[in-house]
Amino acid sequence: MMVVRPIQADDHAALRELARKTGPGFTSLQDNDEQVAAKMESALAAYNPDSIPEEALYLFVMEETDTGEVVGICGIESAVGLSDPWYNYRVGTLVHASRELNVYNQIHTLTISNDHTGYSELCTLFLSPDARHSKQGSLLSKSRFMFMAEFPQRFNEYLIAEMRGYSDDKGVSPFWEGLGRHFFSLDFAEADKLSSMDKVFIAELMPKNTIYTNLLPQSAQDAIGKTHEATTPARKLLESEGMRYTGYIDIFDGGPTLVSRTNDIRAIQESRYVKAHVTDRQPEGELYLVSTTDFRDFRCCMTALDLVGNHVVGLPQNVADALKITEGNTVRVVPMSSGRRF
C-alpha cells in the first residue's frame, strides 16, 4: 500500500537515494549531499505543532508500506518571497489605438512583478521512475491538497506552482536567447546553473522596465507561458484541480506559473470528514483520497470506498493499517478526480 506522510529524520538515507535519481533538470532536489541535508533540516523544522513558521517547507515522502521503501517526494512552501523577492514576468496587454488614423493595435507586454509574494507554492515533486503507474503520481501530488485542507492556517490564501518552461532539443531556451541573454554577460549554461541556486541575481540584471513582446524574436514570443514537454502531465493534473495560468511566467525560461485561490482547489473544496468503518470487503469503483487528521502523523492513501450514507465510509483493513487508523476514527475523503455533481 502506498502512503504519503511527512518526512522524518530517519528518511535521510532514502531521500539521498532518491536525489540520485532525479537528474540535472530537477533543480530543487539535486544529487548533492549539502542540498539534501539542508532540505531535510528545514523540512523537519516545519513540522512543529506548537508554532506556525512564516516560511516553512513541508516535505512529504511516499512509502510502500509493505517494504518500507521510499519511492517519491513532494513539498509545499508555506510562503515564497518573504526573504528574497519572488520574481515573475507578468504578461499584460496594451491597446494602442487611434480613431483618427483608424489604427488598432493589441500589444503584449512583460512587466517584472513580485505579485506572488507570500503565496504558498507546490514544489519538489519527484516519483521514482519504477513507481510511475497506477495513478501513484496523482496520489503523491494531490495528497498535498489534503494536508492543506486539514491545516489551512499554515498556508496562504493563494497557491502557485511553477512549470518548467519550453526548451529545444539542445536544452536551449528560446525565451532566454531572445530576452535575458542581452542583459547578461553569461552564457545560458552558466546562467542556468546560477539560477538554480538563486534567482535574485537574475532579477537584478533583467530589464526592469516593461518589455514589448513584439520586439522579441518570434521564437521567444512563442515560448511565453509554454510548458516543457516533460512537465505537461503535471500541468494537466493541476489544471484539473482548478489551477490556472493567469499570465505570470518565469523570468528566466518563460515557463508558466499556475495559480489558484487555495480554497478553490477542487480537492480542498470538495473534501470532507467521515467516520471510518473498517471492513473485510474490498470496495470497488471510483478512487478516493483518504487522509488522517494528524499533523506529524498525517497520512494519505488512495483507495476505493463504500459510501455509507453521508457520514460513514467503509475502508478495507489494509488501508486502515496504512493510515494507522481504527474503526470509528475521523478521516478526510475526496474523489481522486473531479466529476459531475448531478
Partner: protein, 338 residues
C-alpha cells in the same frame, strides 16, 4: 540671382512641385495641397502678427531663381515646438543593471519617448531641387533663416533644434522604423510619415511605445541607424556643426535621425553677422562671399554675393532685390570658402 524670401500664396504651384519631388521624405512637406496652402497661410499670418514671445508661429521661405521665377528650394522655422501639439523625441539614456554578487555591471541603453524639446525653436522643411544642390545654395537656403532669427530675436526661443532625416534605403525604407515603429503603427514608413504631416500629432502618444525600449532588443540594422543622418544629410550636418549645433542623444521617433541643438544666441550666423549702412554702386571685383539681408518681416529678403569686406557696396540689382535704399541698414554675414 537666387533670392530668399517668405512664401506667398503665388508660390503654391511651385511648392507643390517640390513636395512631389521630395517624395514624402519630409514629414513637414507632404504632397497635399490643403496642407501646403495651410503652411503658406501660417507663414503670412505669423509675419503679420505682433509677437512678444514665440508661440504657435511658423515661417516658411522660398529660394527663388529671379531669372525664371521658379522656386528651387524651401526652408522653414517653427517658433516653438510642442505648443499647439505635442513634440516627441526619443532620448537615449543608459540604464544600469548591476549585481554586486556576480560583479556584473551592465549599462544598457534605452530609448525614452519624451517631450524634452517642448518650447524650443526648430529649423525644418529644408528641401532643394536636386538640380541646384550645390554647397553655396545650401548655405543660402539654410543660413538665411538664421539671419532672419538674428533680426527678430523676440520671435524665437533660446533653444534651437534641427532634426536630420535618418538612415533609409533607396525605397525610403528606414531600418529603425521596420524594427520598431511598424510594430506600433501597422503601416509602412511613408504612410506614417505622410499621416504625421497632415494630422495633429496626438495620435503618436496613442500609438507609440510608452515604456522605454531597450536598445539591445532592436535589430542590429536598427541599432546602427540610431542618431545617424541619411547619407545626403551629411553636408547639412557639417554646416550645422560649424554653426555650433551638437547632438545630445535625442533621435527622431520614426527614423532615429539625430536631433541637433544649439543655444540660439550662440549659433554662429546669429551671433557673428554685422550691420552696415547700405551703399549702392559698383560691386566688388574681388570680394568676400557673404549673405546679405534686410531686417523685414513680410519684406524679408536675403541673397548671397561677394562684397568688399572693408567697404561693402551693393549693386543696383542687389539693392532692389533686397528692397534696400542708400543709407538703409543691412545685415551681413561673412562666409568662409564654400
Amino acid at each position: 540671382m537666387l533670392l530668399f524670401r517668405p512664401l506667398t500664396f503665388n508660390d503654391l504651384p511651385g511648392l507643390e512641385r517640390l513636395a512631389v519631388i521630395s517624395g514624402g521624405s519630409m514629414t513637414t512637406l507632404p504632397a497635399n495641397r490643403d496642407h501646403l496652402s495651410h503652411l503658406i497661410n501660417n507663414t503670412q499670418q505669423s509675419l503679420r502678427k505682433s509677437v512678444e514671445r514665440p508661440e504657435g508661429e511658423s515661417y516658411h521661405f522660398a529660394l527663388e531663381d529671379t531669372r525664371t521665377g521658379d522656386i528651387i528650394g524651401v526652408s522653414g522655422i517653427e517658433a516653438a515646438v510642442g505648443i499647439s501639439e505635442p513634440f516627441y523625441s526619443y532620448r537615449m539614456d543608459e540604464v544600469v543593471h548591476a549585481s554586486s554578487e556576480l560583479q556584473i555591471h551592465n549599462r544598457i541603453p534605452a530609448l525614452h519617448l519624451c517631450q524634452d524639446y517642448t518650447g524650443a525653436s526648430r529649423l525644418y522643411t529644408l528641401f532643394m531641387d536636386a538640380g541646384h544642390r550645390q554647397p553655396r545654395n545650401l548655405h543660402l537656403l539654410s543660413r538665411a533663416r538664421m539671419l532672419f532669427m538674428a533680426a527678430h530675436p523676440e520671435r524665437f526661443a533660446q533653444r534651437l533644434i534641427v532634426e536630420l532625416q535618418g538612415i533609409a534605403d533607396e525605397n525610403n525604407r528606414s531600418p529603425f522604423w521596420e524594427c520598431l515603429g511598424r510594430h506600433f503603427f501597422n503601416m509602412d514608413f511613408n504612410k506614417a510619415n505622410y499621416l504625421t504631416g497632415i494630422n495633429s500629432k496626438g495620435f503618436i502618444a496613442d500609438l507609440m511605445p510608452h515604456y522605454p525600449v531597450y536598445v539591445p532588443l532592436l535589430s542590429q540594422e536598427a541599432q546602427d541607424a540610431l542618431g545617424q543622418p541619411r547619407e545626403d544629410m551629411i553636408a547639412v550636418r557639417e554646416l550645422l556643426e560649424e554653426e555650433g549645433f551638437v547632438y545630445r542623444k535625442y533621435v527622431d521617433i520614426f527614423d532615429a535621425g539625430p536631433t541637433l541643438e544649439a543655444r540660439t544666441d550662440n549659433v554662429r550666423s546669429v551671433s557673428e553677422n554685422r550691420r552696415f549702412s547700405v551703399q549702392i554702386g559698383e560691386a566688388a571685383d574681388q570680394g568676400k562671399l557673404a549673405l546679405i539681408s534686410n531686417d523685414g518681416l513680410q519684406q524679408y529678403r536675403c541673397l548671397m554675393a561677394e562684397l568688399n569686406p572693408d567697404h561693402p557696396v551693393l549693386s543696383e540689382e542687389q539693392a532692389k532685390a533686397l528692397q534696400l535704399n542708400e543709407g538703409d541698414s543691412m545685415r551681413v554675414l561673412w562666409l568662409g570658402n564654400i
